[in-house]
Symmetry: C2
Subunit: 240 residues, 2 copies
Amino acid sequence: MLRKFLAFRILFRKDKDLLISLQEILGFYPKNLRFYKIAFTHRSASFKENGIRVNNERLEFLGDSILDAVISDFLYHRYPNAKEGFMTEMRSKIVNGEKLKELARLIRLNDFIVQKGNTPKGSITKIHEDAFEALIGAIYLDQGYYKTYKFIISKILKKYIDFEDLEDLNLNYKSQLIEWAQKIKKPVIFVSKDHPDEIKCFSSEVVFDYKTIGIGKGHSKKEAEQNAAKEAISFLLHSF
Amino acid sequence: MLRKFLAFRILFRKDKDLLISLQEILGFYPKNLRFYKIAFTHRSASFKENGIRVNNERLEFLGDSILDAVISDFLYHRYPNAKEGFMTEMRSKIVNGEKLKELARLIRLNDFIVQKGNTPKGSITKIHEDAFEALIGAIYLDQGYYKTYKFIISKILKKYIDFEDLEDLNLNYKSQLIEWAQKIKKPVIFVSKDHPDEIKCFSSEVVFDYKTIGIGKGHSKKEAEQNAAKEAISFLLHSF
């Protein structure tokens, strides 16, 4: 009986500690700790509940799409005159693996994640990225859409994202394309020309498998190549 | 003066008609018709507002991600024990071009869309699919997340989606892969074997460019090929 009571006390203290640490990140006290415990449980540390293996993969699925929705709304209002293409690009600059890993590191998710196996201490991996998305899913289930919205805007975007930097950041489409071509062991060739009589005086074609799959123009060779590579990637992705 | 008054009356009557028709689809009266008018405006019929070209592309960007979020939440609760992979597949069976076109047709979006140029009467195209997503964006801005949620669940999913049918529907990965390979003019080969001594007694390998890019097993040759094709598509997509 005493042992049970002590175990309960320890459990209770652990939950209290988790509650307090979470409050520091979230800015509010969770209502239902269970969602957050699941969000931090990597597949390698799955536990059973009523015969079902539980880990954060389902919450990651949910959180991923909630994060997308909130960021889309935010960008829609932040850039009232921007075109859809610009907003899509900005969103993918925020919601990509590397950025999410960085965000996971910044809010110290590392301290919460439960996993088995050897991960070098302090290293930030896909596990952290997934846990970040799962955390968004947990907040959504615990607090609803608008509190999640508020959390993402005030505790993540406004705190850690420099939008002006991000606007300037050029995603490197050319290197993405070359990397992909190397993986499938096919050459991809950039054929660039200059047209001294035109305003955008450089053009570039991406040739893959004897076929032009992207064309771009630009004020510099680099810009033309990037635009061509972007079109080529879009062609390859949309071919499915 | 009289002319102005009559023009105002006609405009007012048009808005009233739109309001009534929308109420029939939505189940509520819109607060701000402007969002809906934009949602139905195809790029070809863009209009200017304070010097900015306005059409439904921005709302489509927003609506697309709101739709995803709502459907993810719905699936999360409808299938409390399903794995993330199953939910992702179910979502893509609902939120794909063909299905959205069908939904646009079922809620008679055709009557609302404003476009220029020749589209054969009654034909349902990408324009309708985009307008459907833009409508979701309009409802979200006009009514907020939870009313949009309610609309999608009660007026779309429960009315037009047969989930049991959808569960059984096998996305044809093999034909998707072959179609893609034909576009880039490279052969893709399925090498299948049977293993009479195993439970899943068929296996299949997808060979593309002298390299195995997907392996699948199954109770039939068809199932093995589908699984292999699915893995191959995932490989190609994730290589970016």
